[in-house]
Symmetry: C2
Subunit: 424 residues, 2 copies
């Protein structure tokens, strides 16, 4: 039994039916990996006692350490505890304090109806189990362990409850028994935008960081294209924490040396936050004029806490009349060049700068589709303009469905601001 | 072997490490469930040949039918095919046409470097395998089957490629062997907003739809609270399609009879689309004035294709100066009542109506946090106003983090418009 290896079993018909996307699994993996503890297998089963028992027994035999989520809630089918108790040969026993909590909760929900005796069974916990406190909900978690040191930690499926219990109860228990981390899994990400995956691949060439299969110290490089650009991720596995840190930092530095112009940040960096920080540094205020993005650009900027010292606001100029009335776009240019054109983008950026008094105005106008495209102006065509000390406009043609086109347009607009304000 | 039961194995270190959330799994489950085919277990393993082989062999022994995703890509570790070929006792053989495609792709990415001979191994497929066409990418899928009719369908992990292959190749093959659906899994959802889960629970009481454990024809009811409100979902399992349809429709009708005032739609309904449809019906145009939501309300409305015939645009009035300049909010009221107040919300709604000429103006002003709260005006406090034929304002106090508070505010604003324009 390797004390740094754990299996995860997520339980619920909602998961198996695909109604719920299993975000818990990714969260648990990340939190554990950061401490050098590896999820070696993940299993999802439905709300059936037999299926739960079989999956847990197999995982105990294979790995000896199991985290489960789901099947603990007071209104759920509550099959996890008795199924797993049976594997450990433990009886279920009523816990009076949990029963009192459940009854209290029932009365709060159904003040006029009687607490059914059958519901008290939900307060039963396996003999000899350790209770894991749930600070964010009513269903407590359970830690069960046999005399060979094999254990199961049962957590609720509600993400907020699970996250709290993982951090406060389960992770410390696993770490205590695993001892200090010999090795960790450590990743670093360089975030780029405005350059295609294939163009990065050509710039880097094959095995840019060395071949991890044959060269010690070479980290595998993953290309992760997304709607906001291509993330380049390197991952060090099975190394001592210090060594992993150095290798990851070196790899990121090497990637920057080649594609640095397109890189806006590392790890979880948000381009909106990068732009706000840069404006703050330069003591500049910012305003937006949006057509096809319809508010998304403002939404992304205001999503960042503390944006109000830089971001003044903007105009969503969806209809051409609003472009004229609130941004001063001329009827002649709208008629002559159309709403999706360089002159209109420039007038929108200038207009919002003037009407709000912002130092920097940025505008987006384009065709998000699915309708409205023509051979000359196809779906995905965008004009973005930035008006700071000087005015610039740029044409983009982005792909994807309506939602993706809008996201790409918003990201392109933020990137144009970043570049306009970059040093040098 | 039940021909309507399948296991799913998703393969990839990125999944196990938690970097990627497994959206493929939910998609495959939903698509199959709609055809009465059940995913009975889901397993995730990393990019290791042994782990893949063990998981697939177990699933074949248990269920006899397995879908895998991942590990097929030309740049990936490509372990899925040889691992599974070994289980079926098949040799790997080079497929010349696939090799030619891979070489072509390489040349497109790295025009100046030589295609390495080792990469040709990626064009090897198991003897006797059937190739599943990939219309959205380069890595083909594989269908392998033994003489007992046990099968594995291997699909790529890239969602767009997987979705196409599932619909065009894998699903038809599974359906062909399963025969016409005896039974289906069918769900119906009633979407509510503006009412807490506990309040709905109290209105419905326990077992409102009957007790599914003891009463035939009673469907289980799930409360699914989310940031946009509480969804009420009923699910019929193991019933004939016609019978399932009737039971689900009846249950939704019964739920509507009790919480209808809070219900804005069914299944995938989006409140923004509901509002736009209602405006269209009444031939009304709409504009928004947003403070704390920062563009999110406009973003949600313009996310709906065809919104431009109803939605004119709006003003993001983040800074108080913008509220004054572009919406005509008076300095006196801002000073006396503060930006988050009834008079300011009303003036914002009236102002945007006037400046855009829209029939309906809606405004939101509030404190999204995490900073900026006071004892009198805490984080989560919102004022929403709708100005149509008459003006109304309402105070909300919503919970959650900054992102949730903003989403709840946008949803509350849309719901106020829906109610203002509802019949009667």
């Amino acid at each position: 039994m390797n004390p740094r290896q754990v299996e995860l079993i997520t339980i619920g018909d909602e998961l198996l039916l695909g109604f719920t996307i299993d975000t818990n699994a990714a969260h648990i993996s990340r939190v554990l990996a950061a401490k050098g503890i590896e999820i070696v297998r993940r299993t999802t089963v439905g709300d059936e006692a037999d299926k739960i028992a079989v999956a847990v027994r197999e995982a105990l035999d294979r790995t000896g350490a199991v985290i489960t989520t789901g099947g603990l809630g007071p209104t759920g089918d509550d099959l996890t505890k008795p199924s797993i108790a049976r594997i450990f040969g433990r009886e279920m026993k009523l816990d009076e304090s949990i029963a009192a909590q459940l009854e209290q909760r029932w009365r709060a929900r159904f003040p006029t109806s009687v607490f059914p005796a059958t519901n008290r069974t939900q307060a039963e916990i396996p003999e000899g189990a350790q209770i894991l406190t749930n600070r964010h909900g009513s269903a407590p978690g359970i830690w069960l362990e046999d005399d060979r040191g094999r254990w199961v930690a049962m957590m609720p499926g509600v993400p907020r409850e699970m996250r709290g219990m993982l951090a406060e109860e389960v992770l410390p228990a696993i770490e205590a028994r695993a001892g200090s981390a010999g090795t960790v899994v450590l990743s670093g990400t360089l975030r780029t935008t405005g350059i295609a995956e294939s163009a990065i691949a050509e710039q880097l060439g094959p095995n840019f960081l060395g071949d991890p299969r044959t060269e010690a110290g070479s980290l595998p490089l993953a290309y992760l294209p997304g709607v906001n650009g291509v993330d380049l991720r390197v991952t060090a596995k099975g190394l001592a924490p210090d060594r992993a840190k150095i290798l990851v930092a070196d790899a990121i530095l090497k990637l920057r040396s080649r594609v640095g112009a397109y890189a806006y940040g590392e790890d979880e960096a948000d381009l909106a936050a990068v732009v706000l920080d840069r404006c703050r540094e330069l003591k500049l205020t910012l305003a937006v004029a949006e057509s096809c993005t319809g508010g998304m650009l403002g939404e992304r900027l205001t999503n960042i806490p503390g944006s109000s010292d830089v971001f003044l606001g903007g105009v969503i100029a969806y209809h051409n009349d609003v472009k004229k009335k609130l941004l001063g776009v001329t009827a002649g240019d709208l008629e002559k060049h159309g709403a999706v054109s360089e002159p209109v983008a420039l007038q929108m950026a200038a207009g919002i700068r003037e009407s709000t008094g912002a130092d920097v105005g940025v505008s987006v106008t384009g065709i998000a589709g699915p309708g409205g495209g023509t051979p000359e102006k196809p779906v995905g065509l965008m004009w973005v303009a930035v008006h700071a000390s000087e005015a610039k406009a740029r044409r983009f043609h982005v792909g994807g469905d309506r939602a993706e086109i809008r996201q790409r347009a918003a990201q392109a607009a933020l990137e144009m601001v970043r570049r306009a304000l970059s040093k040098g």
